[in-house]
């Protein structure tokens, strides 16, 4: 028998803290566990370190340490530093941001952007102060922004805002959906009358000339700005926000249509979705720019930006429909049956029981579709709209900044990276917040 070594006795709870067992913390151990735990790991780590050693210093030197941030043309940059020439970006920054929007009217773009930020914060951040009134503001935001960006008669804006307010109020009172649809149509016709004159089917007979001369009788008038002058990040945001705002509801309708028991409704949705998903966006944009006028009554023209917005929205809505369908299919059939058992009609059953759950399941994919739509907005350069990439490529052909392609592409890439990465982070946050089940 081993002889017992007498130990000092401690009262319960009095034992002093002991040092941790050998090698359970410290940088060395972390390195060993995370980088050099096995032969494969050692090889991988060495390869990774070699790769970083080869890439990072050169990249840093080119982009920051040996880069020129000031200068008036390319040669001045080259004389100063051997790396990137960011002076080009800083000189052209207004162009990248506003496109050819008149300089003295740019406060309107800034103001719209501020409103966009306010609406977005109100919609996205649950603990936002004054959230209720700000959300009402967010509903009015599209009209206000359109008025600010396009300019025109302030009285007409007031008419549209008042109509929207009435619709909202009625909606809040809970009128039936059929009645709301009729009302929405009336409001759309009124809005169209207010903005473009003449009673007719909304938005089918907008003439380019009508967009220009709307300045008449009040003090509220803003100088009208043609959409041809829109460009830069502003254009990306217009396409992105419009597409996001309209493609979700349209996608939900298409998804519900695809799930419908009525064969004609179902198959028209299937054909639409599969057609849109089967062709690339740029062919649709080509259609918008070259072919759409063939399908309209003779003599009608559409504003090119409106055509592009419609195409981008339709394109995204087909993808959205598939995403939402995934959510609908993932929902147990018991949910619909329970709604039926409660005596709910189709509309309330969908609105109150099915859609909230289905949309929650599909949040990550919905945000991915949003990101895709936002990224796809650069494709408008192929039909001659000047998004940031288009502005960059146009600026590259000027004599003083010839050939700085890498700088332009990286700058635009950075812009997209920041906004898309932000969106995907937000989706992660939302996913965690709405996760009501048990998480392992």
């Amino acid at each position: 028998m081993e002889e017992m070594i007498p130990k000092k006795q401690y009262a319960p709870g009095e034992h002093p803290e002991m040092p941790p067992p050998f090698k359970t913390k410290g940088a060395g151990l972390w390195l060993q566990q995370n980088l050099f735990s096995s032969p494969t790991n050692i090889v991988l780590s060495i390869l990774a370190i070699y790769f970083l050693y080869k890439m990072l210093p050169g990249l840093l030197e080119w982009s920051l340490l040996d880069a020129a941030f000031t200068g008036s043309d390319r040669n001045e940059c080259r004389a100063k530093a051997g790396g990137a020439c960011w002076a080009f970006i800083s000189e052209r920054l207004p162009l990248f941001t506003y496109g050819f929007y008149p300089a003295e009217e740019r406060w309107r773009v800034d103001l719209s952007f501020l409103f966009l930020v306010i609406s977005a914060v109100a919609l996205l951040w649950e603990k936002c102060p004054l959230r209720k009134p700000l959300m009402v503001f967010a509903v009015f935001f599209p009209f206000i922004a359109a008025f600010l960006l396009l300019g025109g008669n302030g009285v007409k804006l007031m008419v549209v805002l008042a109509c929207t307010a009435v619709v909202l109020l009625l909606l809040y009172r809970g009128f039936s959906s059929a009645f709301m649809m009729v009302l929405a149509l009336v409001v759309a016709v009124l809005a169209k009358y207010a903005f473009f004159g003449g009673i007719g089917v909304p938005f089918t007979d907008i003439h380019a000339t009508q967009l220009v001369d709307l300045n008449q009788f009040t003090q509220l008038n803003l100088k009208t700005v043609s959409t041809d002058l829109f460009g830069g990040f502003m254009l990306t945001l217009i396409i992105g926000v419009t597409g996001i705002a309209f493609s979700l509801p349209l996608g939900v309708l298409l998804a519900l249509g695809r799930q419908s028991n009525l064969p004609i409704i179902k198959y028209s949705c299937v054909v639409f979705i599969e057609f849109i998903r089967g062709v690339p966006l740029i062919t649709l944009l080509f259609v918008a720019s070259t072919m759409l006028s063939f399908f309209l009554p003779p003599g009608t023209t559409f504003n090119l930006l409106v055509r592009v917005l419609i195409m981008v929205t339709l394109f995204a809505s087909a993808y959205m429909a598939e995403v939402v369908r995934g959510g609908l299919q993932a929902l147990p059939k018991g949910q619909t049956e329970a709604a039926d058992a409660l005596g709910l009609k189709y509309g309330p059953a969908m609105r109150l029981i099915v859609l909230p759950q289905a949309l929650k399941i599909s949040i990550p994919s919905i945000v991915n579709t949003f990101i895709g739509l936002y990224k796809d907005s650069v494709l408008v350069i192929v039909i001659g709209l000047l998004d940031p990439l288009g502005i960059g490529r146009a600026s590259l052909s000027s004599t003083e900044w010839n050939g700085l392609t890498n700088e332009v592409y990286l700058f635009v890439a950075l812009f997209f990276f920041v906004s898309c990465y932000g969106m995907s982070r937000y989706s992660l946050y939302l996913e965690n917040k709405l996760h009501t089940g048990h998480k392992r």
């Binding site: 004609i264 028209s268 690339p280 740029i282 063939f294 990224k375 650069v378 050939g403 990465y421």
Partner: protein, 397 residues
């Protein structure tokens, strides 16, 4: 019987609207009318507009000479060929970049997905940074950036990088490689190759039945690899090297002879593959993570070694999760190849939907053709992937 039910005669509206079956018929008839009105007026407008421009709807222009050059053509083409031939060249170029892109992006994507799950912190984070950067930047920017790097940063023809002592060259005009010319004896090498594949297939069948009968395992993989590589090599040597290589040589301003991969193709191929690989990597990661850890533990408990656990337990189950999103990534890649137009790679959008359209002014016909071609490509890819998905899907009773 309640009195009201017998006396109240339902109106026609109530009959049609408050009866579920009748309502569904009414709604469908209304929808059909709206659809017919919508498409009918579109077609009618198109007819009126085309007539006003003084031309009908016809594909006769496809027979006219295209009179433009396409620098990459795998089938005979010259500027005197017809628009139809130009369209075929474009289709083949689209398919070429799509198939090459699908292969490369799958390899890269699976590798990245596994690296993203690596326990090695550095490798894991590098893969994360790569995937997040690539996924969050539009593919058009990747294409332009890579094209810019190839055209601006690679050496000019005179200073081309010389690879493998004068056999291949890289310059900003592309990658120049020797092109093979097959001598008649080469058919024996080909025969040996086909024979080896047949042998490998038979051997696998034999090995399986042997394992089923006796439990003995044969090294199927290594035998197949040895046969498929070894037999053609033996045949190649035995028949006395039946390939003549034509080497590229610098003549005047560019390389003559040999085969060339042009910078446009290279840029498009790399950009599409790198971009799609990032998405595939995320799908692969999600697929592997979706497999319960109990599966791995159970297989370990059965005494399967680690590689067999992966091959027989984890990967077959993970594939079920990975394949459906993978097929939509392939579809995206094929459709994104239409961005070739931005760097001048002559795919189907750039030929028939670009230059031919501008030359003939037949926007409607050209765009219908282009869309139909993409639809056919998309449907083919999703058909193949659905077939594969069915094969690997879980077979339940």
């Amino acid at each position: 019987m309640s009195a009201t039910a017998s006396t109240a005669q339902p109106s026609l509206f109530a009959k049609l609207w408050y009866d579920k079956n009748n309502r569904s018929i009414v709604v469908q008839i209304l929808a059909t009318i709206v659809l017919i009105w919508f498409f009918g007026s579109m077609v009618l407008n198109a007819v009126i507009n085309l007539e006003a421009q003084g031309r009908g709807f016809s594909f006769a222009f496809l027979e006219q000479p295209a009179s433009y050059d396409i620098n990459q053509h795998l089938i005979p083409y010259s500027s005197r060929s017809s628009h139809l031939q130009a369209m075929w060249v474009g289709i083949i170029n689209t398919l070429l970049v799509a198939v090459a892109g699908i292969i490369l992006s799958t390899i890269l994507g699976f590798t990245l997905g596994v690296l993203r799950l690596s326990k090695n912190w550095l490798v894991n984070k590098l893969a994360y940074v790569y995937i997040e950067y690539v996924r969050n930047v539009p593919v058009l920017l990747h294409i332009l950036l890579i094209h810019g790097i190839i055209v601006h940063s690679l050496p000019r023809t005179k200073e081309a990088w010389n690879l493998l002592s004068d056999t291949a060259f890289i310059s900003n005009r592309g990658l120049f490689m020797p092109s093979p010319e097959f001598l008649p004896m080469f058919k024996f090498v080909l025969a040996a190759f086909i024979g080896a594949i047949v042998f490998a297939w038979l051997f696998r069948r034999f090995a399986r039945s042997l394992q089923a009968r006796t439990g003995t395992q044969l090294p199927v993989f290594w035998v197949s690899v040895l046969a498929i590589i070894g037999l053609p090599v033996i045949a190649f040597i035995a028949t006395g090297h039946p390939i003549n290589w034509e080497y590229p040589t610098l003549k005047g301003f560019n390389f003559q002879g040999g085969a060339v991969i042009r910078p446009e193709f290279l840029a498009l191929w790399l950009a599409l593959s790198l971009y799609t690989a990032a998405f595939i990597a995320e799908n692969v990661r999600a697929g592997i993570l979706a497999i319960d850890h109990g599966q791995t533990e159970a297989s370990m408990a059965l005494g399967l070694p680690r590689n067999r656990t992966l091959n027989l337990v984890v990967i077959p189950q993970a594939l079920r999760v990975i394949v459906p999103p993978l097929s939509s990534q392939y579809l995206n890649l094929a459709k994104n190849s239409s961005l070739a137009i931005a760097i001048g790679y002559m795919d189907v959008t750039a030929t028939i939907g670009g230059i031919s359209l501008n030359q003939t002014g037949r926007a409607m016909e050209c765009m219908i053709l282009v869309m139909a071609i993409y639809l056919i490509i998309s449907l083919t890819i999703s058909g193949i992937m659905n077939y594969y998905n069915k094969r690997i899907a879980l077979v339940e009773r």
